[in-house]
């Protein structure tokens, strides 16, 4: 037994050097050379300021923007107390509410009432009233985008058909037509709307 003490310690040290330092640091170097944009977090800059990441959802509240999905992430206030902070990309989490939890059903009821006031004629897509898994889902379903289309078109004084065309343009279909689900990236769609307004 005792003769296995040396390999236990030496191999652990060697693996820590190889797999814990050489491998991740080497990957970081190669990534920086081959895919610098992705390696840094797919960041989008505007006038030299980082406005977010392509694949991280952010909060939109204005009428003229498409809104992302509800988020259960939290942050801390000045006194260190935990508070709701949607789309906090430094503290990823879901709601973890079970299907028979009163708090879940109450929350969804409130969301439904708000959305019905906004667009009384359309069915409410489920992704608009349920919190995402990451807490900053970058996408909404095409159904959720179409649901919000009248509000956004009105707030921007745009032809609804034009907004719908933009939604279609920014709907990412299933990969190879099979894999995944169709999704609309909210940040990219809103940026396209803004640049449309500038034109």
């Amino acid at each position: 037994m005792l003769k296995d003490i040396r390999p236990a310690i030496v191999l652990l040290a060697l693996f820590t050097l190889l797999l814990g330092l050489a491998y991740p640091l080497g990957m970081t170097r190669v990534a920086g050379a081959l895919f610098p944009h992705q390696a840094e977090g797919s960041l989008i800059e505007k006038n030299g300021i980082v406005i977010g990441s392509e694949i991280i959802g952010q909060t939109f509240t204005g009428e003229k923007y498409f809104h992302g999905r509800p988020s259960a992430t939290t942050g801390t206030d000045d006194k260190g107390n935990s508070i709701a902070l949607p789309n906090n990309a430094a503290n990823s989490m879901g709601s973890n509410l079970g299907p028979t939890n009163k708090a879940l059903i109450e929350r969804i009821k409130n969301e439904v009432e708000k959305l019905k006031a906004e667009n009384p004629n359309a069915a409410i897509p489920v992704d608009m009233v349920t919190t995402s898994a990451s807490g900053f889902d970058p996408d909404i379903t095409p159904a959720a985008a179409l649901f919000q289309m009248p509000r956004v078109a009105k707030a921007r004084n745009l032809d609804p058909a034009k907004v719908e065309a933009l939604i279609n343009q920014f709907t990412k279909p299933r990969t190879l037509g099979i894999i995944g689900e169709p999704a609309v990236n909210v940040l990219k769609l809103n940026m396209a709307l803004d640049s449309e307004a500038v034109k």
Partner: protein, 575 residues
């Protein structure tokens, strides 16, 4: 359920089937020490490791010594990881300036990663430095996986060798697995993941000013290098708190598919390694077939109930029907790019194996869809399973199956040329009973103590499910969670930590004893009286044994949790 959803599940299954034989062949050559295409590059490194560590490659270890070496390596790994967690404030690569991890949490986390569980009572991006993630956790993502695979190789040698004293050399198996199998795949697939959008940087978290002018801090880090081995080694501990739901850990549907294939790849390939080593590949395919049946049943059940959605949400006027414009179903705790089919499939895959990564929150699943991961773990994660542990778990059930078949016809049971005798069956029973002992024992304890109950987040039967899930996940070394349970309390840090250690080592020791016993036996030629274990009939018997043993043991507990909750949900009873 939609046709597209079923096609996606079929596509995934087909890829796993295609990977099994080539990877199995490669791994067989690696563990036999034969020449592979990477030998010219890796052999010098391998030799250097042996030289520095004082390992003699030809030293064949008795099962006790093999197990002792494994335990010693685990203890050393635990001590080093605990030290890194406690000292991270003084160590480099810490741009966010995280201080020491609390002792109880460090204890739990160190056990968690050494046992290949990767249960997380902490949020990665709010607790750990990049140094801890790389030199601490990434290392154990590799070596705890390699340890499991090494143990499976030792067990296989118990069947394939005749009249042998030894089961191989733990240090050689560990090193070869890490260098030839885990590292090359991690480099190649890791680069693919970065290309697809996973960060790999040592820079500090990014401060962004959103379009509407709000402030958003975006956590980044050396994610991809850890992510790939997290899946391939069925570890499952996320770089971030939200694990593979986080767009940086799982940017799109393709990375999601590749991650699921990585989870099953080694578990599936090991069935083929087993077949090759016992000189009849159909023996391996029989195990593969059993696993496939159990996998597909679970995936379809989970998919069905998630797609059906939550009737209490439908009642509020929300549209949960699948259409061309939305996946529909129960979207609480899921991301749009994965939708329902891929979330249900991922949950099944991650708990069939001992991975425990999640791309959706199991706590928010509908009750019977949430039952599928629970059952998968309680069966011992033998459906492809954790790397290594899945195969030896399945082989233990195979021994029980031939034992029962032998009782029925009144013959001494044989399995792949080895007589299964009293000692083997006793040790097998011991290895199998550890699981319910720990899961049900700790669940009963936690459910009856005030500081056990105070951690649950959902009232009613769902709260009980959270506790049951916690101990199932840790004992089975899975690591996924019904995340509502607050695990970072002294009570849970200790009990969950113990459950992980008991589940891992309590099973390994009797398993190695069986391997040692089998290895010493002669090979007997099969005769007309031998029950053919490469047949469809054997697949049926093995499946039945697994379901009966697992079902009878856990049915009462499952009734109190998910099954009661299912009927509550249908009747609109809320808690």
């Amino acid at each position: 359920m939609t046709a597209n959803g079923l096609i996606q599940i079929a596509l995934f299954s087909a890829i796993v089937l295609l990977v099994t034989r080539p990877l199995g062949g490669y791994m067989t050559r690696v563990f036999n020490g034969d020449y592979v295409f990477l030998t010219p590059i890796l052999r010098p490194i391998e030799m250097l490791f042996y030289k520095l560590a004082g390992v003699d490659e030809k030293d064949d270890q008795h099962w006790l010594r093999y197990g002792g070496a494994m335990l010693m390596f685990s203890v050393a790994g635990f001590a080093l990881l605990y030290a890194i967690l406690r000292l991270q404030g003084y160590l480099p690569f810490n741009p966010q300036g995280f201080g020491a991890v609390e002792p109880m949490l460090a204890f739990n986390t160190a056990i968690s990663f050494v046992t290949n569980t990767n249960w997380q009572n902490y949020g990665g991006e709010t607790t750990l430095s990049y140094f801890t993630q790389m030199a601490g956790l990434t290392v154990h993502n590799f070596v705890s996986a390699a340890t499991g695979i090494a143990l499976a190789m030792a067990f296989i040698r118990g069947f394939s060798r005749a009249s042998a004293k030894g089961l191989g050399n733990f240090w050689v198996d560990l090193t070869r697995c890490s260098l030839y199998v885990l590292l090359p795949v991690s480099i190649v697939v890791g680069l693919f993941f970065i290309w697809q959008g996973m960060p790999q940087t040592l820079g500090a978290y990014v401060n962004a000013t959103t379009i509407e002018g709000a402030h958003q801090t975006i956590a980044v880090g050396p994610v991809a290098s850890q992510e790939v081995i997290k899946m391939f080694g069925t570890n499952g501990g996320g770089f971030f708190n939200a694990n593979s739901t986080h767009p940086f850990e799982n940017p799109n549907a393709i990375t999601n598919l590749v991650q699921m294939v990585l989870i099953f790849a080694i578990g599936a390939a090991l069935t083929n390694v087993f077949g090759r080593m016992v000189k009849n590949e159909w023996q391996g395919w029989a195990l593969f077939g059993t696993m496939s049946v159990l996998f597909l049943v679970g995936a379809l059940i989970a998919y069905h109930f998630e797609a059906a959605g939550n009737p209490n949400i439908t009642a509020l006027g929300v549209d949960q029907a699948a259409s061309a414009l939305q996946a529909g179903g129960n979207m609480e705790g899921k991301d749009v790019r994965f939708g329902i089919a891929n979330s249900a499939l991922f949950a099944t895959v991650t708990t069939d194996a001992s991975c425990g990564a999640v791309n959706a929150w199991h706590d928010s699943f509908t009750p019977l869809a949430g039952l599928v991961p629970l059952v998968n773990m309680e069966l011992g994660e033998i459906i492809f399973g954790g790397v290594g542990s899945g195969l030896y778990g399945m082989l233990l059930f195979a021994i029980v199956a031939v034992f029962i078949a032998g009782l029925m016809v009144g013959r001494t049971p044989e399995y792949v040329g080895k007589k299964i005798e009293g000692y083997d069956v006793k040790m097998t029973a011991l290895a199998i009973i550890i699981l319910p002992f720990s899961i049900l024992g700790f669940t009963a304890l936690a459910s009856s103590l005030p500081f056990g109950v105070s951690s649950i987040a959902n009232a009613g039967p769902h709260g009980f499910s959270e506790i049951l899930y916690g101990f199932s996940s840790t004992t089975a070394n899975n690591g996924s969670a019904f995340g509502g349970l607050t695990g970072n309390t002294p009570f849970y840090n200790i009990t969950l930590g113990l459950a992980m250690a008991i589940g891992r080592f309590g099973m390994i020791v009797p398993m190695l004893a069986v391997a040692g016993s089998l290895g010493r036996k002669k090979l007997v030629a099969s005769s007309v009286g031998t029950f053919p274990t490469d047949s469809g009939l054997f697949v049926a018997i093995l499946t039945a044994v697994i379901l009966i043993v697992g079902g009878l043991t856990f049915f009462p507990a499952l009734s109190l949790g998910p099954i009661v909750e299912h009927f509550s949900m249908i009747h609109g009873t809320l808690y």
